[in-house]
C-alpha cells in the first residue's frame, strides 16, 4: 500500500495527529489514521530530527521506541520504507512514522542517539534489508552470521537457496573467499553423510 492509497485523510484528526501536524508543519509529507493507528510520513533525512522533536515535546512525550522495521516496495520508487512505532509511557499513546529511502542510497539517520532500543532494531533492519543507518555505533548483522550474503527480507531474495555451514570464530573470522550459491534443485547437503 503506497502512501497515496493510505491517504484517506479523515477530517477529524486524533489529538496526537493534530498536535504533530501543527508542530511539524511542512515536514509531514502525508498522514493517515487507518484502523486507528496515527501515521505520519516524513523525509528520510528528517527522521532523527522529527524523532527528537517527538521525544522532547511537552505533551506528546514519545519516550519509547517500540519497533523499527522496514517494508520493501520493490516496484515503487524510492524502494524501502522504514517504519518506526513510538509509544509514550506517560500519555500512553502511539504514533507510526514512516520514511522512504532509495535502493541506491539506502541510508537513513540512526535513532541510537535518542533511543537505546534503536541499536538492535536498526541492526536487524540492516541485516534483513540492507538499509544502513548513519551514525549507528555498531552496525553489524545480528540474527544472521557475518559471512551471509544478501538481505533475506528483500522481495527479490531467492528463499530457496541454501547456505553452507561455516566454522565460527569470534574475532578474526576465517576468511572464506568463496561462498557457494547452489541453484535451487541442486542443493547440496550441508555436511557429509
Amino acid at each position: 500500500m503506497s502512501d497515496a492509497d493510505a491517504g484517506e485523510q479523515t477530517p477529524d484528526l486524533s489529538p496526537v495527529l493534530a498536535a504533530v501536524l501543527q508542530g511539524l508543519e511542512g515536514r509531514v509529507l502525508s498522514y493517515h489514521s487507518q484502523h486507528g493507528d496515527d501515521t505520519i510520513v516524513v523525509a528520510a533525512s528528517d527522521r532523527l530530527e522529527v524523532a527528537a522533536w517527538l521525544k522532547h515535546h511537552d505533551t506528546l512525550q514519545f519516550d519509547m521506541l517500540m519497533d523499527t522495521t522496514a517494508v520493501d516496495w520493490i516496484e515503487e520508487e524510492p524502494r524501502f520504507e522504514i517504519v518506526d512505532h513510538f509509544f509514550s509511557t506517560v500519555a500512553h499513546h502511539r504514533l507510526r512514522m514512516k520514511c522512504r529511502v532509495d535502493e541506491d542510497d539506502a541510508i537513513a539517520p540512526s535513532l541510537c542517539a535518542l533511543y537505546g532500543a534503536a541499536n538492535w532494531m536498526e541492526r536487524e533492519v540492516y541485516d534483513m534489508y540492507g538499509i544502513s543507518f548513519d551514525a549507528h555505533p555498531d552496525l553489524r548483522r545480528i540474527l544472521l552470521y557475518p559471512q551471509f550474503q544478501g538481505f533475506p527480507l528483500r522481495k527479490d531474495y531467492d528463499k530457496l537457496q541454501s547456505w553452507p555451514l561455516f566454522e565460527e570464530r569470534y574475532e578474526g573470522v576465517r576468511e572464506t573467499s568463496k561462498i557457494i550459491h547452489p541453484n535451487p534443485g541442486e542443493l547440496e547437503p550441508s555436511h557429509e553423510p
Binding site: 500500500m1 487507518q34 501515521t39 538492535w120 532494531m121 545480528i142 569470534y170
Partner: protein
C-alpha cells in the same frame, strides 16, 4: 534491622562508566579499571583481561544465545551478545503463506505462552478487516491468554530457580504448569503448539465443564504452590544474595531501551498494555499492575509472582462472564474469513466454494496496514502487518519483547560478576523462538 536497612548495607555493584562510555567511578578500583579499559593505558598497567565465550550450547543460555564477555578478574568489563542461532525466517515465511497458515508459526515464537501469540496475530488480521469478534470470543481469548501468562511465568521462575540450583520449587511449579498444559490440551488439542486461534474466532468453542476443571487447578493446585514457593525462597539467604541488588536497571534506561513487561515493571513503571491501551475487554475486569522498586532480579521474581495472582483474579472474574454467554456466538459468521461448517461444505456448493477459496487463497483483508499490541508474558508483543489485498501478508513483522529486552542486557551485566550472568539472563526470560524468530 528491616529490609530497607539491610539493602542499604548491601554494596550494590556500580558501573565504572556511564551510558556514554565516560568513566565516572573515581574510586581506586574505578581508576584501575579505567587504566585497563582505555586504549592509552600506561605501559605499567597490567592487562589481565580475559575473553570468555559463553553459549550458545550452554544450558543456562537456553541453547540459543551466545555471549562473548571480557572479564577483569570476576568482573564483566566488556560484552557482546550474539543472538540469532534459532533464526528460522518467521517474517519471510509469513510473507509466503496465507494468514491462516501464519497461525502455527506464531505458536513457535514464544512457546511458553503460544496462545497469546496466536491471539495477537489473528487480532491484527481482524484489525485489518475492521471487524470485531463476538463478546464470547473476546472473553475466551482473555481467559486463555491469562492461563498462558501463568504458564509462562511459572516456566520463567522455575527455570530461574533451577539455574540457581534450587530443584524443589522448580519441580513444584513445573508440575502445576503441566496440569495447565494438559488441561489446555483438552481444549486445543496440543500441549504447547496450540494453534487454537482463528481469524474471526477460535478453532472450537469452550464448554462449562472445561472451566470447572480450570478453576479447580487454580484453587487447589496453583494457590498452594504459590504459597509454598513464597515460603521456601522469599527469605532464603542464598536466594536473596543471588537476586537482590543483582541486575539493577534504572528506570530511564529501561524506557530508552524499549524494555517492556516484568523487567520494566520491576523498575517501577506500571506499564501494561492491558491497562493503558486496552484490547479485548480488559477494561471490564478489575486487576492491578504490580510494580517493583529497585529494578533488580528479586523484584522481577516478585513482579512475576504477583502477576500470576492478578491473572487468577482476572480468571475468577471471567469465569461467570463466560458462563453467562454459553450458547452465544463464539466466532464471527463472516464468509470473508471464517470457514463454513463442515456439514454445509459437503452439501452446499456455495459453502464448498467458500471453503475452497479460504483454504487455497486465504482470507483477503483490504489494502492497508495495522499494528496491534498485546501484553505478552515478557512484554509488549506487537504485530505489524501490511496487506496488499491478497491472501498473504505483504509484510508481517513481529515486535519481539524478548529480543528488545535482550538488547538492554548489557546495562545489567557490565560491572556485574560473571556468576551473575545466569540469574540475570534467567530473569530476562529470553525465549529463543521469539528472540531469534
Amino acid at each position: 534491622m528491616n529490609l530497607e536497612q539491610a539493602l542499604e548495607k548491601l554494596s550494590l555493584p556500580r558501573l565504572p562508566y556511564d551510558q556514554g562510555g565516560t568513566f565516572v567511578d573515581t574510586s581506586e578500583e574505578g581508576v584501575r579499571m579505567r587504566r585497563i579499559f582505555t586504549k592509552d593505558a600506561p605501559a605499567d598497567a597490567v592487562d589481565d583481561r580475559m575473553l570468555i565465550n559463553i553459549g550458545p550450547s550452554h544450558p543456562a543460555m537456553h541453547g540459543t544465545i551466545r555471549m562473548v564477555v571480557e572479564l577483569d578478574g570476576e568482573m564483566i568489563v566488556g560484552l557482546d551478545v550474539i543472538p540469532g542461532y534459532l533464526h528460522r525466517g518467521f517474517e519471510k515465511e509469513c510473507e509466503n503463506h496465507t494468514y491462516h497458515q501464519g497461525i502455527p508459526y506464531t505458536d513457535r515464537l514464544n512457546y511458553c505462552s503460544p496462545l497469546i501469540n496466536n491471539f495477537a496475530w489473528v487480532e491484527t488480521v481482524e484489525k485489518l478487516f475492521s471487524v470485531d469478534v463476538p463478546r464470547r470470543t473476546h472473553l475466551c481469548r482473555m481467559y486463555l491468554a491469562e492461563l498462558s501468562r501463568i504458564t509462562d511465568h511459572l516456566t520463567a521462575i522455575a527455570a530461574g530457580f533451577m539455574e540457581l540450583g534450587a530443584m524443589t520449587p522448580m519441580l513444584w511449579m513445573i508440575e502445576v504448569r503441566d496440569w495447565y498444559w494438559e488441561h489446555l490440551n483438552h481444549l486445543t488439542g496440543a500441549r504447547m503448539t496450540q494453534s487454537y486461534a482463528r481469524v474471526g474466532g477460535a478453532a472450537r468453542d469452550m464448554w462449562d465443564s472445561w472451566l470447572d476443571r480450570a478453576m479447580e487447578i487454580h484453587e487447589k493446585e496453583m494457590i498452594r504452590v504459590l504459597k509454598d514457593v513464597h515460603a521456601l525462597v522469599d527469605t532464603n539467604r542464598i536466594f536473596i544474595d543471588r537476586m537482590r541488588g543483582v541486575g539493577v536497571v534504572k528506570q530511564e534506561d529501561a524506557i530508552s531501551y524499549g524494555v517492556t513487561g516484568p523487567v520494566l515493571r520491576s523498575t517501577g513503571v506500571g506499564l501494561d498494555c492491558r491497562k493503558y491501551t486496552p484490547y479485548n475487554l480488559y477494561d471490564e475486569v478489575d486487576f492491578d499492575v504490580p510494580i517493583g522498586k529497585y529494578g533488580d532480579n528479586f523484584d522481577r521474581y516478585f513482579v512475576r509472582m504477583r502477576e500470576m495472582e492478578e491473572s487468577f483474579k482476572i480468571c475468577r472474574q471471567l469465569d461467570p462472564m463466560i458462563r453467562a454467554t454459553t450458547g452465544d456466538a463464539w466466532r464471527l459468521e463472516d464468509t470473508r474469513m471464517t470457514l463454513p461448517p463442515k456439514e454445509e461444505v459437503y452439501s452446499n456448493i456455495q459453502a464448498l466454494m467458500n471453503h475452497f477459496k479460504l483454504i487455497m487463497e486465504g482470507p483477503r483483508p483490504p489494502k492497508g496496514e495495522a499494528y496491534h499490541a498485546v501484553e505478552g508474558a515478557n512484554g509488549e508483543l506487537g504485530f505489524y502487518i501490511v496487506s496488499d489485498g491478497t491472501g498473504m501478508p505483504y509484510k508481517a513483522r513481529c515486535r519481539p519483547p524478548s529480543f528488545i529486552n535482550m538488547g538492554s542486557i548489557h546495562l545489567q551485566l557490565l560491572g556485574s560478576q560473571v556468576a551473575d550472568i545466569v540469574p540475570i539472563f534467567g530473569q530476562i526470560n529470553m525465549i529463543g523462538g521469539e528472540c531469534d524468530r
